[in-house]
């Protein structure tokens, strides 16, 4: 099977939770709902301490185009506008909500809309915006922005990303297996939202891309999509990072997305990539008017008693989720997301947000020693972006992060492959993160300077 260049094959560890059906996790008594669960401007709170809220009620409105609305995951009382830690470590505003346990639904939320199949493309995008839907694979980019490409870009393919290449994670697999039809309906909605009004209905095709280790799902999908002209399922080789946008598009369509340094986006090659969970959330939003306030995530790892897949309300604390599946004393690190790209949490009070695809508790966190780079080239061979990762770490070691720009540090997708394969155990991705933090402001300042100069010349 054709695929992208580079990549690795970490043990996928999916057997721990792959056969566990999705279970609903009861909401805790108190939830901390962050107002910034997406990329872009934080939402503006529109409720105050003491207000009564219902499930699905709008509690934070989007404060710009690249922003997303936040809805109450439970019914109860807003206790305070407070602050909490984002999984990324920064402090964000949040609403502390006391759950009354009655799950009183907000108006219209959950009602079946009989005419949902006739909703216009414009309305689908609108619904995605109102329901606060964001990319649920982890990047949390607001979906309505992705669904509103500029006029100049002609989208011809929507890829539903079901690669789930991160080890341990099985939530997308379970969703596809248990709610196949709903996900396909979601994909149809995505396709429709991106089809221009004057174009024939099957101009945009939808592809569900599945890694070969989920063959049962693939066969089921293939079976169900048999009679569709513009929808199909694709099997992809098992390789990390198969689910990264650029690598996914390369594998599925053999198209090369320009790198970040050229401001390349999938839409430049006519593609929009969405996560399985996002498609499902869109379907539920359009049909049942249900905003995004809960998500399926995988709880797994060798320090979890009974790994599984849970439907969790946004704002539930990590601790609550982990305890629900039993966390053993041997746990030494808790990761939000997958083990390759996820973030080790320093606080178990960190709430689950719209982008939390998994919570892993692992017992062995080797305290490894970093050795000097031996120029073996393993990272270069395996880098899916064809960068020279060793350069980032050697430059970083001597503090010359500004020079990483020359080596295209901003093209790095931080997939962690280099760090995984490095025999010297060098923390390359951490160097990359610092490099980006140094380089990006420099580039911005330069662009600003250039713009001012041009203005001077023309004005």
């Amino acid at each position: 099977m054709r695929s992208f260049r580079g990549g690795v094959h970490p043990p996928d560890m999916k057997h721990l939770s792959a056969d566990a059906p999705i279970e609903v996790l009861a909401a805790p008594e108190q939830l901390v709902v962050p107002l910034s669960q997406h990329i872009g401007a934080p939402a503006r709170p529109i409720v105050q301490a003491g207000d009564d809220v219902r499930v699905g009620q709008l509690i934070g409105e989007a404060s710009g185009f690249v922003s997303a609305a936040v809805h109450s995951p439970v019914s109860g009382k807003v206790k305070a506008v407070t602050r909490t830690r984002h999984p990324l470590g920064n402090t964000v505003d949040a609403l502390l909500i006391e759950n009354d346990g009655q799950d009183r639904m907000a108006e219209r939320v959950g009602e079946d809309n009989p005419n949902w199949r006739d909703v216009s493309p414009r309305d689908i995008v609108d619904t995605a915006m109102k329901a606060g839907i964001v990319g649920m694979g982890g990047a949390t980019f607001p979906t309505h922005v992705k669904l509103s490409p500029p006029e100049s870009k002609h989208i011809d393919t929507v890829i539903l990303n079901a690669a789930e290449c991160e080890p341990y994670l099985t939530c997308d697999y379970r969703l596809l297996l248990e709610r196949t039809e709903d996900v396909i309906e979601g994909l149809k909605l995505l396709v429709r939202a991106l089809t221009p009004p004057d174009a024939p209905p099957n101009r945009v095709s939808g592809i569900i891309a599945v890694e070969a280790n989920k063959k049962d799902v693939f066969l089921k999908l293939q079976d169900m999509l048999q009679d569709k002209t513009n929808l199909l399922a694709r099997l992809m080789p098992v390789k990390y990072p198969q689910g990264a946008e650029k690598q996914l598009i390369k594998t599925v369509l053999n198209r090369e997305v320009p790198p970040q340094s050229q401001r390349g986006l999938p839409m430049d090659v006519g593609v929009v990539v969405q996560n399985v969970g996002t498609a499902l959330a869109l379907y539920e939003a359009v049909r049942f008017n249900k905003p995004l306030y809960e998500r399926v995530l995988t709880v797994s790892g060798d320090a979890i008693d009974t790994p599984g897949n849970l439907l969790v309300r946004v704002g539930t604390s990590t601790e609550h989720v982990l305890k629900a599946r039993g966390i053993t004393d041997s746990a030494s690190v808790v990761i939000s997301g997958g083990p390759m790209m996820g973030i080790a949490l320093s606080r178990l009070s960190t709430p689950v947000n719209k982008g939390t695809s998994g919570l892993l508790a692992l017992s062995s966190s080797e305290n490894w020693e970093t050795m000097p780079c031996i120029s073996c080239g393993a990272c270069v061979r395996h880098c899916p972006m064809q960068l020279i990762p060793s350069k980032f770490s050697t430059l970083g070691d001597v503090g010359r992060y500004d020079e990483t720009e020359h080596w295209n540090v901003i093209d790095c997708i931080e997939c962690g492959v280099c760090t995984y394969v490095c025999p010297s155990r060098r923390p390359i991705v951490q160097h990359v993160k610092i490099g980006k933090a140094v380089v990006v402001p420099l580039m911005r300042a330069r662009a600003e300077e250039l713009r001012r100069q041009q203005e001077k010349e023309h004005g």
């Binding site: 602050r83 830690r85 990324l88 470590g89 920064n90 402090t91 030494s332 973030i343 080790a344 949490l345 320093s346 606080r347 966190s365 305290n367 490894w368 970093t370 970083g396 931080e414 923390p427 951490q430 160097h431 993160k433 610092i434 933090a437």
Partner: protein, 296 residues
Amino acid sequence: MCPVLPVTVAASAGGYTLFGVLVMLVIGAVLGLVLFAASRFFKTDVDERVEKILDVLPNVNCGACGFGGCAAYAEAVVYKGSACSLCAPGGADVECRIAEIMGASVGDREPLVAVVHCGGGTRSAHSAAGYYGIASCRAASVPGLNSPKACVFGCLGMGDCVAACKFDAMVMGDDGLPLVIESNCVACGACVRACPRNIIQLHPLKSFVHVYCINTDKGRDVRKACDIGCIACMKCEKICPVDAIHVINNVAVIDYDKCISCGKCVKECPQGIIVNMRKTRKEIDRLRQPVPGGTS
């Protein structure tokens, strides 16, 4: 090619030397004249003040002025009208002399010193998680990584500021907090820029009462993170005779223009987070003493 002098030449060695001197004199005079003419003819308007200022500057190229070295700063003063006061290592003396060269006068400048606004060392600040990775504060506080310390405002204790100091004015204390050796500090601000958490600030040298906390969380959250963080109890604000200390955004902040360093708030603070530098200075002196039987 170099000829072996014939024996006959030795006799007229005196004439030889004279001839050589003459030739050199002529060549020297001609070249000198040419260069002199050239220097007049090709005269360019280089502002000699640049050279003068460069002579005055300490030439350590520390970059504290914000320019790429002393030469760049000298040019910036002359051509771009930058302030004369930017040279931190040079201090007031250099400022006066630059101003003299530029034909301006300056008022007295307050000598500053770096102050580390965190008192939460390993003994009092709680740790939230272990940290594995690059051993630098900048690396530990990059977006996308979690803070190993429970307090997200406090000092990470990995010594980026100590490494940044070019004047040997910072040492790492034994409880994981950097200490400023005030006699060496020239207030260049390198540590201020190096600190990713903005804990270090420059304050007047004459003030020696400082608040060692910048945690703007509410008191309850501060107690969870640190034994000695500012809990915004307002006691310091009430006791201050000159209205120089205020709780702003949940943390006490001293107005150094008003502060008279009387030390009343130091005694009043229940958390002991307001510190009189006199005591700390003693501790730094102790640290600077060579340890018997070991390296200093």
